[in-house]
Symmetry: C2
Subunit: 595 residues, 2 copies
């Protein structure tokens, strides 16, 4: 039996025709002489009817159970008006089966194959091939596939050359932890799985390819969070001889095409906003603002620096800031208890309590209202751009803690009160003019805000000279943000060895360390490297957003769980002692039994 079309595509146009279909039994209703089966394939569901006039087929239908794989031949007939199902494409017809064959049987699945099924995450990952049969997961992976096709096609049309870079690469000391791959030929030596193709794509520009593109897998052995995976995919490009705004223009067109192809959305390029990093931090407390949320952070430091409320006045005196959000219409929605919860929520950022006020037609209410006389209250309300009915939430103290706290509260309250403005459902922004360095609490030192190959602004190059403060320098880097997520990160790269050496020195590399880690790149830059820049977009996150999901696991076929294991195959697994011996390795005894 040779399939003639997908089950999910059979509709009124087929009425009167013979079709051959193959797929899975979604549901069977058995009335003895009459059996209905919902047949499922990747395109959807069609109803099959088996009746006594086709005894052999009926016999098959009586044997099958859910998730059996069957092939059937039959005629497409219109359903009675009363039987029509508007919810599915094939809802106006059914297939009167003339012959049927079981291609594979199935045990009762461990959970039902339907969206919203009540099964634990771990069980769904263990039986991923069952979970992936759900229409939602089929949709998610097709969205991801469409993004790749669209991205690929644009790149081809714009003369980018698709070049694969090695996955067995060299371990580098900067950035996150590398996954290592022991060498058998050189025991004690290791390849590293690359965290990105960054160095290779710069070398490809040095090699004169001019426009490079790759859908590249990247690997980071980091502690996992909800939206991180040990391996992830980037839409990675690099160009020569273009400046930052030319690259942003090109990427804008690219994203425009992807949005059109994948979600049929007409993105206007002028709707991609453009914020400096500083402006983004000031207005939203984050470098990845969700512009759909219609209220912003306001700086009240000047207004409250002499306030009777000591917490505010002292915060400013001690070199900190006082900022506020006026959450529109939120005053009635948050009780004291609710607000206490908000205060607990921001403790993770280092905030020590949450000051708040409700704005009424008659002035301010709340525990700290008494510290503000009429004039002070008016000044406060005006500066915070608040109106009657709003809930004012304050942050006071260290600027970074205030920013993180108010960013989190802005997102949280907007979500809880459904304040996200979806009139423009996709809000893109370029965040530009980043600091070149940022202070890392984790490492207790200055690190590159993006990576050590990011070109400083021309006018800031002197900050890298000896005796100057490199941390004042800003960079020619640009992040693309969508609806509060960082979609991608790009920059103009350093293409001159002298600047690259200064950059590494500013990162506290000794000459020897720089040579050992990046000597090949520094040497390459001595042989005529062109000005270059590029970007990498995170495919997982883009697919997650365009598929309407909130976890990247939902758009990855076989993801790792939160402990970096894959519950279906149980990877990683212990290996034979012989395999280790070949690699010249021994596993520490006290740890090898941990799993």
């Amino acid at each position: 039996m040779k399939r003639t079309t997908y089950a999910g595509l059979v509709d009124e146009k087929y009425v009167g025709q013979k079709v051959t279909l193959a797929g899975w039994v979604q549901k069977r209703r058995n009335f003895g002489e009459l059996v209905f089966i919902d047949l499922r394939d990747r395109e959807g569901i069609v109803q099959l009817t088996f009746s006594a006039d086709q005894a052999e087929a009926l016999e098959v239908a009586q044997k099958v159970r859910n998730e059996y794989v069957i092939a059937v031949e039959g005629e497409v007939v219109a359903r009675d008006a009363a039987q029509k199902n508007d919810k599915i494409k094939s809802g106006a017809i059914e297939v009167k089966v003339e012959s049927a064959k079981i291609l594979a049987d199935s045990k009762t699945p461990v959970f039902d194959i339907e969206d919203g099924v009540n099964a634990g995450e771990e069980l769904k990952l263990q039986y991923r091939y069952l979970d992936l049969r759900r229409p939602e997961m089929q949709h998610n992976l097709r969205v991801r596939s469409k993004i790749m096709s669209s991205a690929y096609r644009f790149m081809e049309e714009h003369d980018f050359i698709n070049i694969e870079t090695p996955y067995l690469a060299k371990s580098t000391p900067e950035g996150a932890r590398d996954y290592l791959v022991p060498s058998r030929i050189y025991p004690g030596s290791f390849y590293a799985l690359p965290q990105s193709p960054q160095l290779f794509k710069q070398l490809l520009m040095g090699a004169g390819f001019d426009r490079y593109f790759q859908i590249a897998r990247c690997f980071r052995d980091e502690d996992l969070r909800g939206d991180r995976q040990p391996e992830f995919t980037q839409l990675d490009l690099e160009t020569s001889f273009l400046n930052a705004s030319e690259i942003q223009g090109l990427v804008g067109h690219w994203v425009q095409q992807i949005m059109k192809d994948v979600v049929n959305y007409d993105l206007k390029l002028e709707d991609i906003e453009r914020l400096t990093w500083q402006e983004s931090m000031d207005r939203f407390g984050t470098d990845k603002p969700d512009l759909r949320i219609p209220f912003e952070i306001k700086d009240l430091s000047d207004v409250v620096k002499d306030s009777d409320f000591g917490v505010f006045a002292n915060a400013v005196k001690d070199g900190g800031v006082v900022k506020a959000l006026a959450v529109p219409g939120a005053a009635d929605h948050y009780s004291r208890k609710d607000i206490d919860k908000l205060g607990q929520y921001i403790e993770r950022f280092g905030a020590k309590g949450l000051a708040w006020l409700k704005v009424t037609d008659d002035g301010l209410t709340g525990p700290i209202a008494k510290f503000f006389d009429d004039d002070a209250a008016k000044a406060l309300v005006a500066a915070a751009d608040a109106k009657a009915g709003d809930l004012m939430l304050f942050g006071a103290g260290r600027a970074d803690i205030v920013a993180a706290s108010l960013d989190a509260l802005r997102r949280l309250t907007a979500k809880e009160l459904n304040l996200i403005d979806t009139a423009t459902p996709w809000r893109f922004a370029w965040i530009v003019d980043w600091p070149l360095f940022e202070y890392s609490e984790d490492f207790d030192r200055w690190i590159a805000a993006h990576h050590p190959f990011t070109m400083p602004n021309e006018e800031d190059l002197h900050y890298l000279d000896e005796g100057e403060d490199p941390h004042k320098a800003h960079a020619q880097s640009y992040d693309l943000v969508l609806n509060g997520y960082e979609l991608g990160s790009g920059s103009i790269r350093i293409h001159r060895m002298d600047i690259q050496e200064k950059m590494l020195r500013a990162l506290d590399f000794t000459h020897e360390q720089a040579e050992e880690a990046f000597g090949f790149l520094l040497e390459a830059m001595e042989y005529g490297f062109p000005p270059m820049g590029g970007i990498a977009l995170g495919l997982d996150r883009l697919a997650m957003l365009l598929a309407g999901q909130d976890n990247i696991r939902e758009v990855i076929a076989f993801p790792k769980n939160s402990k970096a294991t894959e519950p279906m195959t149980e990877a990683p697994t212990p290996v034979d002692a012989k395999q280790l011996a070949e690699l010249g390795l021994e596993a520490d005894e006290e740890t090898s039994e941990d799993k």
Copy 2:
């Protein structure tokens, strides 16, 4: 200065126009008041002229050296007829430079940037970014990119879903040696880099995606040969509900489109030949025959079984074979010494000498001619399909040694005498009806000829039952061969657990071993797996052939050398003791210094 076009694309159409170009100095000729520079970019070369009437530009030109990166503005002017260069696209014009800027300087490159440069392989890999600047390497990587684009587009047009499968996967005991990746979270446990996405794509068919495609990196820690790399790329697809000939038809169309898109060749589907594995072995001594070579192996066992030449007669008596090649017109081209060399060449296959005869108008000549009287000689010549002027080369003994020897001699002599018929430059063939198992000398046991998931022919299934000889079974597998290279390998897969278990038993897996290695697949097959099949084409080899190269390193941007190291970055490298400690590993002291 904003580039207006590529240097290599400027031609007569631009005469009279201003252009801005950027690229590398290929060559400079300095006549003081007049300087010529050949400017190179990825599209080719254009001649720049600098003269005294643009003093600033001339000054720049006098500073630059080979491989400096410069940007120039100027007017395109026609060259005098006498100065025209037909070899390059821009040969009829030159650019009279009005302003110029040095974007990057360069040390004298360690080898000249030109095709056919005389530099060692290791040096070229160490300075790969310089080697890749050569027009030939630029072409090679663009051929590879074009193949990917074409393959991708076809798959999209044919409703394949592009799905990425994990690179951090589970180690499996069958096949080549895995590259391992130590887990930090579970010290003593390891991921494995997949040798192919085989199991994942079967699971995706089980998940109902119906048509899967991926450009997949694969990893094998094998000893390297000329055409092997530790990592390589497959154009990987899988389908459900199609039989072998339907899949071959689809793949035929796919290859047809790739050949058209990449080398503008009109492949007719009926020109893809179709040979059983047995026929291929009989006629060519190999499962990847080069059909462009117009002479074949002939079986003379019957003709010589009673020969006076004891070597032949005994070979047949002892259960072996006697076969021959009649190399057309080769008699005059090979001296005894040359033929001795051919004999030495095939010793690697286990051949113990090479019997030969030259065919003349007057009969046979050569050391063994005396054993053949007129009738025997005529019978021999007729059976070998030889004619006057041919050189007959014999193999006698074990069938596999004879096959390997005569295959090698057929390829070698065809190459040496330029006998390859290029009237049809691309000779594709499907090799079908393979044995399910083959005996591995390396492992000293029977292994799967393709892999353990290959479906036996329906009529051979009973051979897997207990008490029968599984090695008699043939498989529903098919290889695609091009010009003597295996391009890809595919099969219908086992989709039923009972057959899969029998297959693993035939491969001497105990029940426990089968469970440990493939338990998740066996379990998955219990939940309604559809009939499925697919293929993987080797991208590296296809790119090598279509780029006209004879080593896959020429079509890989950053390949490993023959010792699996990457001379530019020196990967693999030793890593910090701290990194090893985090992984719960120790490197054996006696081996860690080996590199």
